[in-house]
Symmetry: C2
């Protein structure tokens, strides 16, 4: 039986890219087909059973002796954002494959079935939908999925057909086992572990998230001829509001995160007073009540500003996702393993979405993080040291051992 390291798999997959000079591997592109075929072929070489489902998720499994229908399940995704790093998603697939193959080599057949899922898509960077790989496994795909189009006008159905049929030329068609529980290991994509000098993050949940679009309507006018006291400056009002929201966020305190990432000013000309400003608000916290508290205070502030200045301020909440809590017993087991192995760990929530939140709808889940240098992700600068990658793989391996042997 061949052997392979986590870093080798990550390096190999990083070469499958649609863009020279950068890593871009959108679902169902040729680079994606090549990457998923590599994963399937690697699993076969390592002696695992390999199948590819209708969505193109690769299932690398080892049959257990107990003849159950379900499997201890590990997984993450193989697709990337545009101009991505090497580690996001791929690390979880690589660590799962290496951990399982090492276990089989050391301890032989497990008691329970084990499967590693290399999900087809998680990022939502090609079609206006994300998590389609894990959604298919839990049988909860959106009704209109097949008709969704990418920005070239290609439908999800066409792209999928073309890509997955190529995989089925060399890899068997098949379906994932029923999921007994689901574990994902992922790079943190934030600076907390590095900052706290911890090797492993044990994630208790993925935060609830709300996004708003705020529109402030003032009155456009000549920047030279309109005295300051006679203005209805939409940008100035927006600034006052955002400044107050910053204060509210500070009053509530961490781990709440509050971000204004997007802003559009109209007409956006240096000598015209802005008539309209539209900006985004993104707030996240594990506790939905904290988000509600922020929202209530935000709305009170907006009501007050509208009265003070006779300006129109419109609020549109266009995203409202509940938190997903991982399984406390599985997290406790991870914590115990870290302690036994003298690996430093930090209990935290995830501010980013992961396949775990989808799998959590049907099964107990666990989620592990390894440090991201400077917290950078979705960038060519994304980096985690080989040592940290291996520490994560070792914790995952011990965890699978306890669950499946």
């Amino acid at each position: 039986m061949a052997t392979v390291s986590v870093s080798e798999i990550i390096e190999q997959v990083s070469r499958f890219t649609s863009m020279k000079e950068e890593i871009t591997r959108l679902v169902y592109e040729q680079s994606w087909v090549d990457a998923q075929r590599y994963i399937g072929t690697l699993g076969a070489k390592l002696g695992m059973n390999v199948a590819v489902d209708e969505m193109g998720t690769a299932i690398l499994s080892v049959r257990g002796s107990s003849e159950e229908k379900s499997a201890i399940t590990i997984g993450s995704h193989i697709d990337s954002v545009i101009n991505a790093g090497k580690y996001d998603g791929v690390y979880g697939v690589a660590a799962g494959i290496v951990a399982v193959s090492e276990l089989v080599r050391q301890y032989g057949q497990p008691r329970k079935n084990i499967q590693v899922l290399s999900f087809s898509e998680e990022e939502g960077s090609r079609f206006p939908m994300n998590f389609s790989g894990s959604r298919f496994v839990i049988n909860q795909v959106p009704e209109n999925m097949d008709e969704l189009k990418d920005n070239q006008g290609i439908t999800f159905s066409e792209a999928k057909q073309h890509a997955v049929s190529q995989l089925h030329e060399t890899l068997s068609k098949g379906q994932a086992y029923e999921v007994e529980n689901f574990t994902e290991i992922h790079i943190e994509q934030g600076p907390v572990l590095e900052n706290q000098k911890k090797q492993i993050g044990i994630v208790t949940g993925i935060v609830a998230q709300k996004r708003f679009s705020i529109t402030v309507n003032g009155q456009g006018n000549h920047a030279g001829t309109t005295p300051m006291s006679m203005r209805k400056d939409a940008l100035k009002q927006a600034m006052v509001l955002i400044g107050r929201l910053e204060e509210i966020a500070q009053e509530i305190g961490e781990p709440l995160v509050f971000t204004v990432g997007e802003m559009h000013v109209f007409p956006n000309v240096s000598n015209v007073i802005p008539s309209q400003v539209v900006f985004s608000i993104d707030i996240r916290h594990m506790d939905m009540n904290v988000l509600q508290l922020f929202e209530d205070r935000m709305l009170a502030q907006i009501r007050q500003q509208k009265q003070d200045r006779l300006m129109e301020i419109l609020v549109d909440c266009w995203l409202d996702e509940p938190a997903e809590k991982t399984n406390p017993e599985l997290s406790a087991l991870l914590d115990q393993i870290c302690k036994e192995k003298n690996i430093s760990s930090h209990v935290m929530s995830s501010g980013a979405g992961h396949d775990t939140q989808i799998m959590n709808l049907v099964a107990p889940t666990a989620l592990l993080f390894v440090p991201s240098r400077a917290g950078i992700s979705h960038s060519p600068l994304e980096y985690t040291s080989a040592e940290d990658l291996n520490t994560g793989k070792d914790v995952l391996k011990e965890f699978i051992y306890r669950l499946a042997y």
Copy 2:
């Protein structure tokens, strides 16, 4: 000799537009040719001498009995911004023509030469240069003027040639008289006269103006995974800076105007912390020392923020125009005329640029305003009542009478 009212001329010129459903009359477009030909033809019908200079400025003049070389000069411009109102520029040309033709009808030949200049261009809405009509009259055009291109790639020289040659088919070539003094009447383009319930603004000068581009460099990061305390949020820093600049502007007080009209956020995505924000600052005041005071305090604030947050903040001053003061004696005469006629007037500065500031480089000038409804200009909503238009014309007429008869 025919008669015509100011409102009739304005209505007629407003029909010369390049865009259906809106008034857009950029220099040297066909609509501009038609408008300037109309002005020239109207002058001839009213018994004035008409010539068109190389730039396409129409010169409508009446020879005085004293045989001097110079002329009492009235003027404004015939070109418009994109999607303009009817009054900006055109009013000054119309009021000049009506005032002079009424004077000649009532009092016969003046002692001094009088000329009304319908300048070819002031707005700078087609080529990257403004005031080309008045600059040519004072013999101070930029060296590279002929090579400047519009956004279709047409050079200033080509466009001018094509348009002005059409005018010269029916109107004589000629040059303006030397300018003894220059008077312009214009809509205010601001809310002060309406607000103060005054019929006439007597303008003592055009403000000094500085414009800056400020760049704040922070660090882009994931909005979900980066704790608030570990962020370098460029937008947040920009907000703090702008908030403080608002305070500085208030401390200095009116008539200083301070405007942030333009803002660009990068990467401008709702779930990414802004890595860079670029915004404009526009400050204006009659006293350059006041602008310097604002700038000094701004730079001190920026130095402090750079130290506090270890962020890069870059300042680029890309426009620095001195104030232009109109002639106190001419203003005093205007004031006296208003008092005698029981017309309410307000002494003020202009926050917008006008041909007067160019003519002021070579001759004494006077500048008069009439009210703009709600201060709106550069918009189809631009409006001044026929009554206010006529009051302005009457003051201008009396003023020319005192100077030229």
